[in-house]
């Protein structure tokens, strides 16, 4: 059992805001570097896992968590980081080859938000608490997760496929309206929508979402 990683990682739980944000806002290594324990250096596998985790899931997870934190970016960044830390601790049980770790990460992130809210409630009221109380967290989360997972899948479509869905179903425009906007024949829009849907289904299926 490796007693080093988690201890090193949890250093920034101590309330030192400055330590929570890597300078460029996106490099995980600065955050995950074990503090003051040379004997417990990370393995190359850890590095790959964390880098891949951030690359694939940081953006969709931020989008997801921002909704739970009522748009509080700082809190959302903290929650995402804590989520990544927990994923890292359980790296041996997680498989990056999985279709998508998003449901797992979303569940963990949601729990962190709930825990934070409970802790806030247990303390004397402070500014901003009222806003947190009003954030829906249960009923809407499945729907939110659906949106995040689908939006993530849309990202990996070809730009032509993404564009045609953007100009039709995703902005409530008919085929003919999209054809005018895009300056292409309606027939082209229709066949592109068709192939975009097939591509999207494939991407979702690869991620374990059956439609």
């Amino acid at each position: 059992m490796d007693a080093c990683g988690p201890q090193g990682v949890t250093q920034y739980d101590s309330g030192d805001q400055g330590a929570k944000q890597p300078a460029d806002g996106g490099t995980p290594m600065a955050v995950f570097a074990p503090v003051g324990s040379e004997a417990c250096s990370r393995t190359a596998d850890d590095d790959v896992f964390v880098t891949e985790l951030y690359r694939h899931y940081r953006a969709p997870l931020i989008t997801y968590v921002l909704r739970l934190t009522a748009g509080d970016r700082q809190q959302a960044e903290d929650v995402v980081q804590e989520t990544m830390v927990r994923a890292w601790r359980q790296a041996s049980q997680l498989d990056l080859g999985e279709p998508s770790l998003m449901p797992w990460l979303a569940t963990v992130a949601r729990r962190i938000v709930i825990d934070q809210r409970r802790r806030k409630r247990a303390r004397p009221a402070e500014a901003g608490d009222g806003m947190l109380e009003n954030v829906p967290i249960s009923d809407s989360t499945d729907d939110l997760l659906r949106k995040v997972v689908v939006a993530e899948a849309l990202q990996v479509l070809s730009s032509a496929h993404r564009q045609v869905l953007n100009e039709t179903i995703l902005s409530d425009q008919t085929v003919n309206e999209a054809a005018r906007v895009l300056g292409i024949p309606a027939g082209t829009v229709k066949s592109r929508v068709y192939y975009a849907l097939r591509a999207l289904r494939l991407v979702l299926a690869e991620r374990g979402v059956s439609v």
Binding site: L154, L170, K190, Y195
Partner: protein, 59 residues
Amino acid sequence: MSGEHTDVGAYALGLLEEQDKRAFERHLAGCPSCRAELAELSGMKELLSGIGPVEAVDE
């Protein structure tokens, strides 16, 4: 002919205007493979609802 068959995607999403919609429904009546595809694509409209346009991620 492929032109009509591929209309099934736009039809499943409710993107066809009235005239096109009626034309495709006539085609659908005589095309088992389009009916099968329509069944496959029936969940897509709901799946894509409320998401809004998506921007590409810079790699």
